[in-house]
């Protein structure tokens, strides 16, 4: 047994660091260093910069523009980005619809959609949840009915469509058959956001930003060429996608960066004239969180070593989302505590609070979504209970 990276992997990590420093625009680097939030245009600028290196779609096969990295290299790459505070790319094209098109799309669709996703020239969003279909996603009601030419007429409402206000395209789960078991009547459609009848309206989130939207479809006409795979197979495709990149969901780099940030803040915050980081009670709090993260990292390494050998995800990989998102929230809770009175307000005039603290109050709110999206943690527990522990159905 061995928990260290090989010399080749260490060299790869150094190459990644060097490459990232080279291509990172100065404006983004400055913000990253100070843990500041990024605007959508900065995220896209960074996406394009990564693309110049061939690094924008690390999880794609080489033939579609991926760098041809193995599971461990992808983990190392992603962790370096996260630890460095780089802008996180929108996952909807790169990690979701892209791999789904690669797996289930036809050649025409691959040619049409993949290059724009890789280059960051088209922005995607996800149309899964509906106002009455959250955790019970398969109950979704947005319909796609065929017209006389075989094209689809889509009607309904999607919600929590993150960054739909910036998106060029949306991938949707739609009902094409209501006469069968709910999972068996769902299809996977790609819809141009400029289609007549498609409207997106952003929610003001509790973090005081506009992150996700409500998106309406009123007789929106979608060409039949935009159907992925076979009609009524959408649920199967969406589920297959859930199995992708299970080793990335823990966010150990994100939380590692947050811990670094917490320590830096605590070092520069005084209490009774001494750095707060010297306070043994606070140190113990930080240490307990760091220890939790070490446990998660080890579980992540175990999952990764299994994936590297091509094994199916083991039981340890099922805890990564669950524990990873809890830790992300705890990091923000602790960061707010360290900020003290600086945590009372947000979006202040520059100079009101240290730059490193500026984004935290908003993120402290928005990070609540982490335990809700991508299958709420309670749904994750239902799945583990059934599939891993084999506990009986009610």
């Amino acid at each position: 047994m061995d928990m260290s990276f090989t010399p080749e992997q260490i060299a790869f990590r150094d190459e990644v660091r060097k490459g990232l420093r080279e291509i990172m625009p100065e404006r983004i680097r400055k913000k990253a260093e100070l843990d500041q939030s990024f605007e959508n245009e900065e995220v896209m600028e960074w996406h394009k910069a990564l693309h110049t290196k061939g690094w924008s779609v690390p999880n794609w096969p080489k033939e579609h523009g991926g760098p041809g990295w193995d599971a461990t290299q992808r983990f190392i790459f992603s962790e370096q980005l996260e630890l460095g505070g780089a802008p996180a790319l929108s996952p909807f094209g790169v990690s979701m619809v892209g791999p789904l098109i690669i797996q289930f799309g036809n050649d025409e669709q691959k040619k049409r959609f993949l290059p724009d996703i890789a280059a960051g020239t088209k922005v995607w969003c996800q149309g899964y949840s509906e106002p009455n279909s959250g955790s019970d996603l398969a109950s979704l009601k947005t319909t796609a009915e065929k017209d006389s030419d075989g094209n689809y007429i889509v009607n309904g409402q999607k919600t929590w469509t993150t960054y739909a206000q910036y998106a060029d395209w949306i991938f949707c789960l739609v009902r094409t058959n209501s006469q069968v078991k709910k999972q068996a009547g769902i299809s996977f459609l790609l819809i141009d956001m400029k289609t007549d009848g498609v409207t997106a309206k952003p929610f003001l989130t509790s973090g005081n930003t506009y992150a996700f939207c409500e998106t309406w479809f009123e007789n929106a006409k979608v060409p039949k060429e935009n159907l992925i795979g076979e009609e009524n197979m959408g649920w199967t495709y969406a589920k297959a996608l859930l199995g992708h990149e299970r080793t990335m969901v823990a966010g150990v780099g994100i939380s590692g960066r947050m811990l670094l940030r917490i320590k830096r803040m605590a070092k520069n915050t005084l209490r009774d004239g001494r750095p707060l980081l010297e306070d043994p009670t606070l140190r113990a709090k930080i240490a307990r969180l760091e220890i939790k993260l070490e446990g998660l990292r080890m579980a992540n390494y175990r999952a990764l070593a299994g994936a590297q050998l091509g094994h199916a995800p083991g039981p340890e990989s099922s805890i990564l989302k669950l524990r990873g998102t809890e830790i992300q929230q705890e990091c923000h809770d602790l960061a707010m505590e360290v900020m003290g009175h600086n945590s009372l307000s947000w979006f202040n005039e520059p100079g009101t609070v240290p730059p490193r603290q500026e984004a935290i109050p908003s993120n402290f709110n928005y990070v609540r979504a982490a335990t809700i999206y991508a299958g709420s943690n309670e749904i994750q527990k239902n799945i583990i209970s059934k599939l891993i522990l084999g506990l009986p159905n009610g």
Partner: protein, 390 residues
Amino acid sequence: MDFELSDDQKMLVDTVQSFCKKESPTERLRKMRENPIGWEKKIWQQMGELGWLGVAFPEDVGGLGGSFVDAGLIIEQLGTTLVPEPFIPSVALAGSILQAGGTVAQKEQFLTPMLEGSESLAVAYLEAQSRHTVTDVQTRAEKTGNGYKLTGKKRWVLNGQGADHIVVSARTGGETRDTDGVSLFVIDPGMKGVSVNTVTCMDSHKAAMVEFDGVEVGEDRLVGQEGQARSLLELSLDYGATAACAEGAGIMQAVLSMTRNYLTEREQFGAKIGTFQALQHRCVDMFVETELGKSTATMAMIKIAAKDANERKRAVSAAKSQLGTGGGFVTRQGVQLHGGIGVTDEHDVGLYFKRMHILSALFGDEEFHVARFASLPSFEEHVATDPLAG
């Protein structure tokens, strides 16, 4: 990065598993309460013959030349049925001191017979005031003409009641809490002036309160350099903590499994109680902590051999602290989900609960290891690490 068991390791795990089932099922622990030392020499002998005691020691002292990962895998399996033989005090605590600090002659005399299973060892390091600080030692060793004379009281000596030799920490210089001035000696329980009083711990294991009243030993019984025992003792307790994490991982798996089975059998309100979501989610929480416990125990088993003591301490402290929180959670919830029967001596789950408490309390508890983790240079160095800066 590789966490696959080798074929040899898989075979080892299988062998230990079937040994536990056949020779030492959980029920045996209750029978051992009647045994004056709490374990059986014939089983220990077998473990020695199978090579388990020496698996992590080099061949020149009678070991198999493996790593502590191998030992950890054995201890983890022994934990699943609560095998009471003194693996931790004898192999992890005393074995590591003798291997790291003993002379060739001392290894031959004390270590090899233990690894063969014909003898067992103990370490007497705790005193009434010492808590987890290895250098908080009042027992004194005065220099005599050709050796030392030990006087003092040691407490909670694991396997002190069964050991053929006991490694004792005693002060050869300095004051009670000085970090220097502590030395280690091997004494025999039969020596004049040694008194051993056996106590039964709540996990059905036994330990001893050992007193030394002017016990005379020769210079050949000093282990390591005089006055410099601190790093040997820290190393020894880290081996103990790592072994505790391994055993704890076995315990968590056993408790999770018996709880899961109970939820699928027990009926209330006309349904299996495992259909109730509140209980399902609790069981999943137990599963999460068990997986994390397994992961951190593995980390400690690998890092215990790190050349850099701080790297070792960081991993061991993280794992031992996780054992305190996660192991405590799993065993407490195991009892809770069994309901009333879980609070009886009749049901096994309580035995695991008690053993987990003992493992959590020994070799530095959660609070100690959190504080140690936060005091290591890595805790502050983290502040300077930024892969994209500069």
